[in-house]
Amino acid sequence: MSEGASKLIAGSTGPWEVVIGMEVHAQVQSQSKLFSGAATEFGAEPNEQVSFVDAAMPGMLPVINRYCVEQAVRTGLGLKARINRVSVFDRKNYFYPDLPAGYQISQYKNPIVGEGEVIIDLSGGESKQVGIERLHLEQDAGKSLHDQHPDHSHVDLNRAGVALMEIVTKPDMRSSEEAAAFLRKLRAIVRYLGTCDGNMEEGSMRADVNVSVRKPGAPLGTRCEIKNVNSMRFIAQAVEFEARRQIDILESGGAIKQETRLFDSRAGETRSMRSKEEAHDYRYFPDPDLLPLEFDQAFIDGIAAQLPELPDEKKARFVKDYGISAYDAGVLVAERELADYYEALADGAEPKLAVNWLNNEILGRLNRDGLSIADCPVSAGANGAILAMIADGTISGKIAKDVLDIVWGEGGDPRRVVEERGLRQVTDTSAIKRAVDAVIAANPEKVEEVKAKPKLIGWFVGQVMKETGGKANPKTVNDVLRTHLGISEIG
């Protein structure tokens, strides 16, 4: 396939292909935990959000949170995946202080969601399909705190029992760019769906990355699992480091050991955590406290009916309905809030003008101020009013930016700002004629030059604009200048 050719990594023995699969843990957006009524909000005091079930007190029993099940099904539908109407919760047994019951309730053989697919968007407008192997529901663990006491460890169980979706891909990615693009797209999808907030800093989305290398066309190589990759940037770094490490080993005659490795973001490298031999025997078995999870097609259909428009569909619609480029549409739909903002803006304005305004003016200012689109100080409606004033000639494009700066900093209605501050564009031809006459009279040598080089008319426009305090309608100025200078329209 020519598509993959450019992604090969050069080695001393020839090109290598990197093969990547991912396991993403996405925290389910829900008020309460997967099997208890305790709250899930981030940032509470340690052990404030712990029920008797979460603390694994004697005799306590888990009860499935219906909303978390709906969220998993919703996510499955968003991943175009098969929804399994019967799934089973299993116990994954191991001892750890932040795992109070001594087992994690997970889904092993029979997950709630089966195979699906995600389309990832790559540079140059290319796209590619990444297969989803499965999605299952499981409990998060608590957190061990080793810095609270000189010789004791403390445990915070606030996170213990919070619902996670583990989303496993097929080994379909072939570069760090694809891996990062996948995670970006997955994050966009779950955020559109409202099933996970995708916040990697707070740990509500975490990725383990499986990396192996092979010569093109060869069977799959031995893989290493890289844990703790908690930002988009680190994904690419981790993959690149790990692929290079494996290639170097293989090219110097060594063999890859199947193991779990930890990504050290400070050093930008992966380090061995435990080998396959040291892997736990989790002794999975069906949790006898929980019946198999069963629901009917109507349950799935009900959720499907409420599904929002997802990034791919929205992008296609933007291209078709607004006539904007696929690239612009891709940028807009990456965040649901941005897409919504654009739609509100494009509602009353010329769509291409709207996308340029959004990309150049709004996003630039948001970026400068460290704000997200959701915190944008100027509403889509107010921006729409500015664009409308450009369109009807009330203000010039340049004044429009000034107006935006004013309402960005001070708030207020753009139309009133224009009125109150006298920013309305001068379209009164007599006033413009006076200014044109003045400029022509003051610059006889330039008048001679412009007759030979008509492009110099721009200089005259600038002078007239200066004369009118920038408020003159540039088109009118142009027309009057041409008439007065005797220059015909160019092209």
């Binding site: 004697p58 005799g59 009860v63 001892f95 202080p97 002794r283 019946l291």
Partner: protein
């Protein structure tokens, strides 16, 4: 019928009528039991006595009776197996690892009883984590059976794991008690103490707040002196519970109302596979006699087949330890319970706390359970045991095509001497040979006292019913009870005035 002169000898039904009829106050009745318990400490039936709480509850009951707002079990003193979490009252599972555990919550079953007006006398001794058939694995020392063989002073076991509850009921230390039954832990001790024990259908009583042994098998049930008392008590223990996903939403009928309906026209199944080589002749004889009693009362006796019953005991000793090995992982010395001092690190803390906290039988079952779930062994053991469970359940379903209730012996023999089987786990496990099958299939079953052994010790018969058909099990049990006319009680050799 005249009431017994000693109020501790009332049945639950008699006491209920006497208390509400103001023939005796709840406080008087409660005080009589508190005295009896204090005088019977030699039996070691209780781990924790709660006399103050009992009297406070009794006083409240008397006020309610006086005020005309009596509830169905108003003022009736009960004992609770120490596997049920009781809010503010130490709950140990008879284990060192929970020796000082005081739950901040009340189990659903015990809450149901208190809501019905019952009075709590205390928490009864048991095998550690309900693992045992003789009550000898308790960290709080064994329970002694109130019964002794004729002309013998030898201490006998009360069966297990609900041995403390059985001893308390048969020794007149409470009106009735709660038990739990995972492989026979209600029925076997009931049978060897001459009392009635009912294991309801799996899902009939909530497991919420009951310390788990094997979650897919555990079920709470009543232990009483009469079948009627079991009918009454079950009605107030059972409930669907949104906090237990395995509890089942089937209406709880008035078991007592249907109790005297007899067995006329009922088909009684006799499973031919339960005729085991080496069973004591007196057990087989009693079984035949039981069938005859039911036939005489108008039932039809038919032979049925449970071809996979012979695999029940091995299947049970895979499934139950497997679940236990996981259920008991939470006792790690980190959050509550016994924590070994001087641990070097977390692994050391786990190992020391658990080695000190669990007794030998519990450790054995955790090891068995860990083994059968291990990679490479799962399919050979756990997966096959689960298949056997399905086959056993199907056996029962087939048998119930041709019969309504199944009659079997309850135990392979009467109470045995302390220490007689404790060195041989397999011979101990064989005590459950007639009872485990029922747990694997999730069915209801009752043990009813039916006669005395040649040594003068109680023997029981077991009746197994269809799922959620406790009513038929109870009315058949009532017919057996009447026919057996079992009126023997243990000599009160222990009583301290």
């Amino acid at each position: 019928m005249a009431l017994p002169s000693d109020p501790t000898h009332f049945t639950l039904a008699e006491a209920r009528d006497a208390v509400v009829g103001k023939k005796i106050s709840s406080v008087e009745l409660t005080k009589a039991y508190v005295r009896a318990i204090q005088g019977a400490r030699e039996l070691n039936a209780f781990i924790t006595e709660t006399p103050e709480r009992a009297l406070a509850m009794a006083e409240e009951s008397d006020e309610r009776i006086a005020g005309g707002t009596a509830r169905p079990l108003e003022g009736l003193p009960l004992a609770v197996k120490d596997l049920f979490c009781t809010k503010g009252v130490r709950t140990t599972a008879a284990s060192r690892i929970l020796a000082n555990f005081i739950p901040p919550y009340e189990s659903t079953v015990s809450q149901n009883l208190w809501d019905a007006g019952a009075v709590m006398l205390g928490k009864t001794n048991m095998d550690e984590f309900a693992m045992g058939s003789s009550n000898e694995t308790s960290y709080f020392k064994p329970v002694i059976n109130p019964w002794r063989a004729r002309n013998s002073n030898q201490a006998l076991v009360p069966g297990g794991s609900s041995g403390g509850s059985a001893a308390a009921v048969s020794g007149f230390l409470c009106l009735a008690a709660t038990g739990t039954d995972t492989g026979g832990s209600i029925r076997q001790p009931a049978a060897v103490t001459g009392t009635v024990g009912l294991k309801p259908t799996y899902g009939r009583c909530s497991r919420w707040g009951i310390i788990a042994f094997a979650s897919s098998l555990d079920q709470a049930g009543p232990m009483t002196r009469t079948v009627r008392d079991s009918a009454i008590l079950l009605g107030h223990m059972a409930s669907v519970d949104p906090r237990d996903s395995t509890s089942v939403d089937v209406a709880v009928p008035d078991y007592e109302a249907a109790l005297e309906n007899g067995v006329k026209g009922l088909r009684i199944g006799i499973p031919k596979e339960y005729r085991l080589d080496g069973t004591l002749p007196e057990i087989d004889a009693l079984w035949d006699e039981g069938a005859q009693w039911l036939r005489s009362a108008g039932a039809e006796v038919v032979e049925v087949s449970l071809p996979h019953a012979k695999y029940a005991l091995p299947a049970y000793y895979i499934v139950a330890p497997a679940e236990a090995s996981s259920n008991l992982a939470r006792y790690d010395g980190v959050r509550y319970g016994h924590r070994a001092p001087g641990a070097m690190d977390i692994i050391d803390l786990y190992e020391k706390s658990r080695a000190e906290g669990f007794g030998a039988e519990v450790r054995r079952r955790i090891l068995i359970g860990t083994y059968v779930l291990s990679a490479g062994y799962y399919d050979a053991y756990y997966a096959r045991a689960q298949k056997l469970r399905t086959l056993i359940a199907r056996d029962f379903a087939n048998a119930f095509e041709t019969c309504d209730v199944i009659l079997t012996p309850a135990t392979p023999g009467p109470a045995f001497a302390m220490g007689a089987k404790s060195s041989d786990p397999v011979s101990m496990y064989l005590n459950d040979i007639f009872t485990v099958t029922v747990n694997l299939a999730g069915l209801p079953a009752i043990a009813v006292p039916a006669g005395l052994s040649t040594a003068g010790l109680p023997l029981g018969l077991q009746l197994i019913g269809k799922a959620f058909d406790e009513a038929t099990v109870l009315r058949t049990g009532r017919v057996l009870e009447k026919a057996a006319n079992f009126s023997d009680i243990p000599q009160t050799w222990w009583r301290v005035p």
